[in-house]
């Protein structure tokens, strides 16, 4: 039998705890594949967030630090400033990054901190049981928006990529999705680019990955992929918001 694909070295053998149909596993895998392809596993330090991916340090087979809720970009800043030759990435969900850690991500981007952020946006708080996130869509029902998110009451969902792309220190910002294979491949390409720009010392890089949460959305995994496509893509358009090429850097 010919082996055509194998688990990346940058993932451990541990069985992931993610719910069936959750796309964290895919995003972990493509991030790990990027580390393998760039040959940087030995010099990479990842920062795990608080939330569903809090245990990311069990899955990524590289040095890892676990950060307090929202503080991953600050922790990554400390690591990168001490070891500028290391590749440093944060892996954060939308509650972590867009809510409690909004200041940390904005200022890491503003400083042009030479780190890469993989930002997983599934429009809901997963680990705490499906509360409204800053990225929850209008009319989206969650445990803390039981009548649907009312913009007049709860405000508007935050478009993180658009917001951060206004900052000159953010050299590469791209929004991707993992709802089907072509998009997964595009997502991987974007994450790879982000790491490459970091290694070139260009500045802050972030890839926002639209992701699913079948458990807290209350729909099955296959329907979740459609829900993402039908509801998230119109509000969170895919594409590149900032790149060194565009800015002539």
């Amino acid at each position: 039998m010919v082996k055509v694909w194998e688990k990346p070295e940058s993932l451990t053998d541990k069985v992931m705890h993610y719910c069936p149909g959750c796309t964290h596993g895919i995003i972990h895998k493509i991030t790990a594949e990027v580390m393998d392809e760039l040959g940087i596993r030995d010099k990479t330090i990842g920062v795990a967030p608080v939330g569903c991916s809090v245990l990311a340090y069990n899955y990524f087979n590289c040095d890892m630090q676990q950060a307090a809720h929202g503080r991953a970009p600050a922790v990554a800043t400390g690591i990168k400033r001490v070891n500028p030759d290391n590749a440093v990435f944060t892996y954060q969900g939308d509650g972590d990054l867009a809510s409690i850690g909004a200041a940390e991500i904005v200022h890491a981007a503003a400083r042009g901190e030479k780190i890469t952020t993989v930002f997983v946006n599934n429009a809901i708080y997963g680990m705490t049981g499906g509360q409204m996130a800053p990225t929850s869509l209008e009319k989206q029902v969650t445990t803390t928006s039981p009548y649907g998110r009312d913009l007049d009451h709860a405000g508007h969902p935050i478009k993180v990529s658009e917001m951060l792309s206004t900052l000159p220190g953010a050299v590469y910002i791209e929004r991707v999705s993992v709802h089907d294979v072509p998009h997964i491949l595009k997502a991987k390409k974007a994450i790879k680019k982000a790491f490459e720009y970091q290694l070139e010392g260009k500045g802050f890089t972030l890839v926002e990955v639209l992701s699913t949460c079948p458990t807290n959305w209350g729909i099955d995994p296959v329907e979740s992929l459609d829900w993402l496509k039908d509801n998230m893509l119109p509000y969170y358009p895919l594409g590149n918001f900032r790149s060194p090429e565009k800015e002539g850097k």
Partner: protein
């Protein structure tokens, strides 16, 4: 090496550099701003990094990252800023990372004021953040001690893999005194094989404070307590002043101890036998020093720039065997020599 006249806050900055600290993350707050300003000037010249964070919360988490990456790192702040840092301090203690945190205390609660105080004692020595953790707390009383204890703090932090706090106040930070930078009193600390520097030829290193299994977390806490017991056993430090024949034994630290020392000298001239135990470590609290005087002293008096925080630890040390009285001012008010003398005389008089 000769003596240099230095402002307390700047002396802390230079001491950190002399101790090998090359990374500082902070956020401005009065009355400690000369520390970051000094390090902003000095660290780039030492191939180090000074970075002004967007908040105290961010600054302490930068410290966490830098310490996890193996660096000697420091942050400094003042009371309301330290409150913001307590989240990070709990994580740093949980993950057993070494770092030095300077608190140049001002009056509180809330925004309080900008004048010196000692009202962060509880926060410093009892935790402040969540969980069963301890931070080593050092209490300098002179600019020279700011230097010596800051340098020691880095060695203690690395040796025990634990955060160490320098608890000063606005007076110490702002005053100028001659100081001498002595060689670093090096400890035999283990190599930082746990640091996240890239795997290279070893297994993955993980810096973490999450323990989902309650039994695992209990065991982690028990391990921490064993470390804290060792620190209590080995690191408790105090200075005794004229306690040999003292009838009244004052306890005071930092700036307040200087006021009490003058009061003691003057009271002695009047024939009143009074002395002082000056804690240099506030945690671990130097309880043993009280055993030396527990039989000879008739009363204890704690003097603080707070409304009675350290007095609880003095009462624990005395353990009900002798009366413990308290005198304090707060909010940025400083007890005067006269006030301390009056209080001591009241205690002496009360015995008659």
């Amino acid at each position: 090496m000769g003596k240099t006249l230095m402002k307390g806050n700047e002396a802390i900055g230079e001491a950190a550099i002399k101790a090998g600290c090359r990374y500082f993350f902070g956020y401005p707050i009065t009355p400690q701003n000369e520390i970051p300003a000094y390090l902003a000037r000095r660290l780039p010249k030492e191939n180090g990094v000074f970075l002004q964070a967007e908040s105290e919360v961010s600054a302490i988490n930068m410290v966490y990252g830098a310490s996890g990456a193996g660096a000697r790192v420091m942050t400094s702040s003042s009371s309301p800023g330290i409150s913001l840092k307590t989240e990070g301090i709990s994580y740093i203690a949980g993950a057993q990372l070494p770092c030095v945190i300077v608190n140049i205390v001002r009056g509180g609660p809330g925004l309080g004021g900008i004048q010196p105080a000692q009202s962060d004692y509880f926060q410093a020595v009892k935790g402040g953040g969540h969980g069963d953790y301890r931070v080593v707390v050092l209490a300098p009383s002179t600019v020279q001690e700011l230097v010596d204890l800051t340098m020691d703090a880095f060695e203690i932090a690395d040796y025990y893999r634990n955060p160490v706090m320098i608890l000063g106040d606005g007076i110490l930070g702002q005053m100028m005194e001659p100081v001498e930078f002595k060689p670093l009193n090096k400890r035999d600390s283990k190599e930082k094989t746990w640091a996240t520097t890239g795997m290279k030829d070893r297994e993955q290193n993980v810096i973490n404070s999450l323990h989902m299994d309650p039994e695992g977390l209990e065991n982690h806490n028990i391990d921490l307590q064993e470390k804290y017991a060792e620190i209590t056993d080995k690191e408790a430090k105090s200075e005794s002043y004229k306690t040999e024949d003292a009838d009244i034994v004052i306890t005071a630290y930092g700036t307040t101890s200087r006021i009490c020392r003058t009061a003691i000298d003057q009271l002695r001239e009047e024939g009143i036998k009074v002395g002082m135990i000056r804690p240099i470590t506030l945690w671990p609290f130097p309880a043993d020093a009280f055993e030396d005087v527990i039989d000879s002293a008739s009363k204890f008096l704690t003097v603080e720039m707070s409304l009675g925080q350290m007095v609880e630890d003095v009462k624990l040390a005395v353990d009900g065997r002798k009366p413990v009285e308290f005198y304090g001012r707060t909010g940025g008010m400083i007890p005067s020599v006269e006030e301390v003398k009056e209080k001591v005389k009241e205690l002496v008089g009360g015995e008659k």
